[in-house]
Symmetry: C2
DNA sequence: TTGTAGGCGTTATCAA
DNA sequence: TTGATAACGCCTACAA
């Protein structure tokens, strides 16, 4: 049926050893033999059986990523871009990417990690949307499973990660808003157990401090990082007796929701209300008004994470361990008009 | 290191054969033995090595799906929902889902299919966004690889699929627009080689015919099914000397772009211009004005496709072969105000 | 430079 | 009801 290495060997009157070594580029194979092997393999359409190779090598050549999806209709451009980056880089490195979705912190999420680890389905994991204290980090570290993360955690384990300095970003954003004349600045965040919420919120507070503006708890609300969440919390803030004149949001999706809430109230975003987000998704650029945001190179980060993880898995020299990037403030019409 | 079936057998003083059969639920194992085996396996934390099993059984217990992504920043809620459905159902059936992204019709896409087929990485494929004549169908059919599709093609091969009747949907939509008083109705479609474009466009034309409205080629434009594409083509149509008063769009994303173009021109969508889409993504419901759309149950369709494919793979009786659904017209403010 | 042989962890065949 | 044994396809020490 399908062509195996044995068929190729037989057709060439060689041993499977020689064929295997020729194909794998060992240098103890005669140049002429190698060429014959390559030609025949191609002609017969031979493709190594990955499963057999995996069993022999005791590696799966597969990376795992579990998407933190709360609902089936979950949709965040951040993840589309992130997954695209993971997929492209793994493919380029001749690895596979195994994906599943699970609601964060649920039992079902834990079950998937366990299944993949114990069934040796993957050689390592990419994690993101980290919790301040993250059971995944503990579980993987204790089981000696390689992993890398986007954002870090407070857990007392050594691991490699990329982080984008949300605190510094928000400090810069607040300075920008203050410069545009705002003093009453609101903040719509995400769940408090998220690393990114902690650092971005810290940036918000530092930014206020820097400008000598008093922190007003009423101007801060917790959303769920979706459009709908931004819309809800946006309405709340805008319906205050003394509403903010600017709202900084934990991510672009939230900001999009806030913009909608504002427009529904007849406010002209950019004039009557400034709104800013974080991520730099494509939609932020295209909406009306274009959204001021702290952009991070999601696609490239994903690719880089894969490379870091593969270095760790292969035991190669690890070139990058803890990468810190700064988001880029893109000032657009939602705050500058 | 990790526990194998051999360890369990040794601990119980049984042969690995018996352990294997006990665990797999064969009925020629003494009830008492079976219980001992189960208890010990659990105690020792034994999890079968999936790779070894795959090699032996010559099956991968994995389904493949290649996401048609044109750019790294590609992001369409349709696919988020579709992939979520695929992932949930495969997981529930104890299968894995292998995902990659590739630009449609590119050489790189073909390479992935070949690699997965020849490397026996997957037991079957789910396809969507079908081309009228689709090389994937031909390739898989000729290689006897099981697959199911969302939408069908014109290829002369037998295969199982689910389709949503876009033609009937657009006929209904056009009737609605006509009833709202529109006579000058535009259409923004997708690439002409797509099945869904062919059928939805056919519905548009039939709808015009039914209302006795002459077909005006200038009112039809080809987009690329993205927000940005909708925005571009929307501007084009709206800048005509005699612009349409209603625009039917091939999908929601396109419609969202058209709405933005209209709003930029100061048009009040729902009053000055009617706009409608197709898909029923969440955002369509939340935008302002809410978007009239032809909704299809994307998540459920994905799950159903997986079940159909697994029936085909397992050789079970196939309960569903060619499923035809009708989209549901959701009339909202973008056309009814 | 090439070949022989053993084994990765399962499952399936056959015999006991 | 249980066990010995042979694959599945590949890689790699070791021998030739």
């Amino acid at each position: 049926m399908t062509v195996t290495i044995r068929d190729v060997a037989k057709a060439l009157n060689l041993s499977i050893t020689t064929v295997s070594r020729a194909l794998d580029g060992y240098d103890d194979v005669a140049e002429e033999t190698r060429e014959r092997v390559f030609r025949m393999a191609k002609e017969m359409g031979y493709v190594p059986n990955r499963v057999a190779r995996q069993l022999r090598r005791q590696r799966s050549d597969t990376l795992g990523y579990i998407l933190p999806a709360h609902t089936p209709r979950f949709s965040d451009p951040f993840y589309s871009e992130f997954v695209a980056g993971l997929g492209d880089e793994t493919a380029e490195q001749n690895f596979d990417l195994l994906i599943s979705t699970a609601a964060p912190k649920e039992e079902s999420e834990r079950v998937i990690y366990q299944k993949w680890v114990q069934g040796r389905r993957v050689d390592g994991f990419i994690l993101n949307r980290m919790l301040l204290q993250d059971w995944r980090v503990q579980y993987l570290a204790e089981n000696n499973v390689p992993f890398v993360t986007f954002e870090r955690t407070l857990d007392p384990f050594e691991f490699n990660f990329i982080e984008v300095d949300g605190q510094a970003g928000f400090v810069e954003l607040l300075a920008h808003l203050v410069e545009m004349g705002h003093r009453r600045i609101g903040y719509v965040g995400g769940p408090s157990y998220l690393t990114l919420q902690a650092s971005r919120f810290a940036g918000y507070r530092t930014g206020l401090l820097n400008a000598g503006i008093e922190f007003v708890p009423e101007l801060v609300a917790e959303g769920n990082m979706t459009r709908a969440g931004g819309y809800q919390t946006g309405k709340m803030l805008l319906d205050l007796p003394e509403p903010p004149t600017a709202i900084a949001c934990v991510n672009d999706l939230t900001a999009i929701g806030v913009v909608r809430a504002a427009q529904e109230r007849g406010l002209k975003v950019g004039h009557d209300l400034a709104v800013a987000g974080f991520d730099g998704i494509e939609e932020a650029e295209q909406m009306n008004p274009a959204l001021t945001t702290l952009a991070q190179p999601i696609y490239d980060i994903a690719r880089r994470l894969v490379r870091m993880l593969l270095q760790e898995i292969s035991g190669d020299e690890i070139l990058e361990r803890r990468v810190r990037l700064k988001p880029k403030l893109l000032m657009r019409n939602s705050t500058t008009h």
